[in-house]
Amino acid sequence: MFCYQCEQTYRSEAGAGCASTKGMCGKDAATADLQDVLLHLCEGIGQYLHHARGFGATDAEADRFILFAFFTTLTNVNFNAMKFVEMIQAAAQIRDRAKALYETAARAAGAEPRKFAGAAAFVPAPDMRGLLAQAGEAAIKKDVETLGEDLVGLRALVLYGLKGVCAYAHHARVLGQERDAIYAAVEHALDLLASEPKELGPLLDEALALGRANFLAMEALDAANTGTFGTPAPTQVRVTPVKGKAILVSGHDMKDLHAILEATKDKGINVYTHGELLPAHSYPKLKAFSHLVGNYGGAWQDQQKEFAEFPGPIVMTSNCLIEPQARYRGRLFTAGPVGWAGIRHIGDENFAQVVQAALALPGFAEDAPQQTITIGFGRDTVLGVADKVIDAVKTGAIRHFFLVGGCDGAAPGRNYYSDFAHEAPQDTVILTIGCGKYRFNKQEFGTVAGLPRLLDMGQCNDAYSALVVATKLAEAFNVGVNDLPLSLIVSWFEQKAAAVLLTLLALGVRNVRLGPTLPAFLTPALVDVLVEKFGIQPITEAKADIAAALSRAA
């Protein structure tokens, strides 16, 4: 195996990347290699779909398969090698269908179909042993000796950014929001990767194109969430347990959460959100369920302890899953793209078994002392008080806005983000998205100019909401987004965050501080490009970075 897609990838003096029998995330070598093969086949599918689209022919089912397949390969999503053997065989059939679609469309238009090699012509072995023997053809670093680390790293940036786009687009799709432009962009990127590009320029352009596609994907997801569940509003969320039977729902998928709430209605079962599902409490149609009682635990990396202590079934609807421990693996369920060998999987959105499990497990014996936090400051809420915000900035009551957001993780350097939130002066506002907030969201930050100083805007994909707010404020002040008293302090862990970063770059947002470490696939030369073209900076010390941001603002 070789994988360096996430922030926690193994780093040593010899270089970065997980290349032994098991990655830092717990993904074993066979699964990693099979994921490479699956993505290689998807490149072939995308290549045919891209060229078919040129003749006006499309296959939405194939596009949907690509979204799902890519999603399964994100960090902490699917660890089940057998699932990949199955998906690879399905991918080969879909690729053949895409090929026929392209060739028929080309001939109908009077053109001679092109013959594609590489991924488009790859014939997967029928079983795992054969597939593992083929994995070298699909390996991320296969051409590194001839092409060099820069080109391979930039290909990786495109591939990993594409994973994030696909994941967000999949979330939107399950709630009925699809965008043809996203499918066209995904196919375009796959066509480029399938053609094994050997120039930096087209890859850099593709990375930015994916950033734009990701903006569309986040917009589609925003439309999906608000269209289905209403507009988020400030909401007090209980963060301590309530006596009674209990189900914990983790991941990002609000449709699954809704299905679980429906399935548990009037059954005496309380439902808790975990991790990135916290924002669900702010959506009117979800918080209308009185048995959605609260949020439990912290960010994903604490799950082995928290899940072990939770007295009911746990459903993991998307990333981030880590190795299930013996104490709870029997009551853990995966859903959607998630999987782990030997863990029950729900593939049909029927959560009846989870309800049975909740009734059979003890639940919480007692109420814990009540503690709440406030969430739900989506774009409509913030823009609803835009006049107040604008006045406060003009009078100097609010000096600066910090968007402290992104993923959390176990690395010690992530204390930076809690330090940053605590050190930010009282006349500044902290906006937050993603699960990085768990480092500070149960603490008191007070108010400034009549507004809470900590505004939780939602999930990582609600970066869209933050960008809408920034754009509207920039319009109100008649300046560009980069001229606003706003700094983005981004923590990344996996590929959704990589896609969000590409969106920020594609939209020309500068003043982004990225940490806790820079992606291992970005070579020093690539980092130089990002610094020079986009003003991206690595984090340093919280106090120093705050001072630098405020002095820029001044």
Binding site: P311, Q325, R331, W340, A341, G342, H345, A360, L361, A365
Partner: protein, 340 residues
Amino acid sequence: MFKVALLTRDGAAIAFDAEPSETLLDAAERAHVYLPSSCREGGCGACRTTRKSGDVTLDSYSSAALSDAERDAGDLLLCRAHARSDVELAAPYDMAAIGFAPIPERRARLVEIAPAGSSALRLVLQYEDDPEQGRAAQFIPGQFMELSPPGAEFKRSYSLANTPNWDGRLEFLVRLQPNGAFSTYLKEKAQPGDALLLRGPQGQFTLDEASPAPRWFVAGGTGLAPVLSMLRQMAEFGDMRPCRLFFGVNRAEEFFAQDSLEELHASLPDFSGTLCVWKPEAAWPGFTGTPAEALARALEETQERPDVYVCGPPALIAATEHVCQTAGVARVYSERFTPA
């Protein structure tokens, strides 16, 4: 007080302190580390680990649980071992097999008792609702429980044959032993409605989910129980991988669970079973010999090198391990049972 460092098969490090007067197993439990074990009397071998450094002494134990050769190679039984210096140990199981809370003890009612072939019984027990534990039957296929009849002082270990479930059902296959304490209870006293005390789940004989290889199972007699649990879970989870079963008994009338095996044939996409009779009547049309012999023959016919799981009497385990070693099978997982 000495320091004990235990490294698991998957590379996790566990540390605890041990007084010379206590066994390493007790010392670990004092530190809320519950290592796989069963009889705690040096008789079963479930707590065997390998000493990498340091000095230990061992109380008396059965050579069935630890042979001289194994002891010479550094193996020890945690339930019999006392530290005489700081000790480093290597465990043959993953971190997931270690518990960090005491092994639960719960009551369950006997709801079904019926013959399983000519020399075993099938028992179904039902957990009673418990405010702290609920009623779910949570275990990992392959694990066992210690069972005590109502009012009895003794307990006996039996593997679960069904899959984890939310109804609290626990299925066991028990071979009847002449004069065996639990067998005597079953033959003479057991009635549906009896409340038995169960201690578990325990044990690390579970599927190696990290390995993508095909799975072949070797079962002797009621050693089929944990294998049935594993196969049933694979069927329940829609596991597509190829698997084979070599199931042996002494005489054909001892066979049981044929309906369960038929269900597995219907639900697992790539499953085949070989029934083996060691001493058949003349009319037996199937394989004659032990399941280890059937395994050897099947390995000769393929290049495939599967993971092999074996449960049965010690002689069957030894024979299977020998067959696997000869054929170059790298991963063999075993659970031995001894008559009791």
